[in-house]
Symmetry: C2
Subunit: 92 residues, 2 copies
């Protein structure tokens, strides 16, 4: 699975373009973020990317999970997002 | 659809319990957050709630979108999350 890192300085529109093209090719990707500000940028990017795929009847779903990352010898628990693209009206 | 507001002071474990019981009853809900810190708490709560529903073969998906909220006569663009529960292996 493709892994993308999004930081607090990332431009959500550019990230949205990257998400869209990766999803069109691979159907799923993983976004790693560290801290609330980078998560915010990643979620904005996903909201924007939804608009890029909506005309073809698709929807972007994200699934958060925890992972541990070591920074300066300290273990920090951070979030990663599994992002998937599906046809919009899949059945329950 | 049920609407839940999560703030930066919310306890992710408690929010996770509330998310799980609302999803079991209604299959979907909306979480409104204002600011990166509250989004972070909401996403942590979803990650925790995934563990509560996983044993029954279900997965929680979230879909971010923008909405405008007026605070002190200022319009702020914020994120909301549509949260849905589905059987884990739905087809692409």
């Amino acid at each position: 699975m493709e892994i993308m890192k999004v930081s607090s300085n990332s431009n959500p529109s550019k990230v949205a373009g990257a998400i869209t093209s990766l999803l069109r090719e691979h159907y799923q990707l993983q976004i790693q973020v560290i801290g609330a500000a980078s998560l915010n940028q990643a979620m904005k990017a996903i909201a924007i990317a939804r608009g890029y795929v909506a005309p073809s009847g698709q929807e972007i779903y994200c699934i958060p999970s925890f992972y541990d990352v070591t920074i300066d010898e300290q273990i920090i628990t951070s979030l990663r997002l599994n992002v998937e693209i599906h046809e919009k009206d899949f059945s329950f």
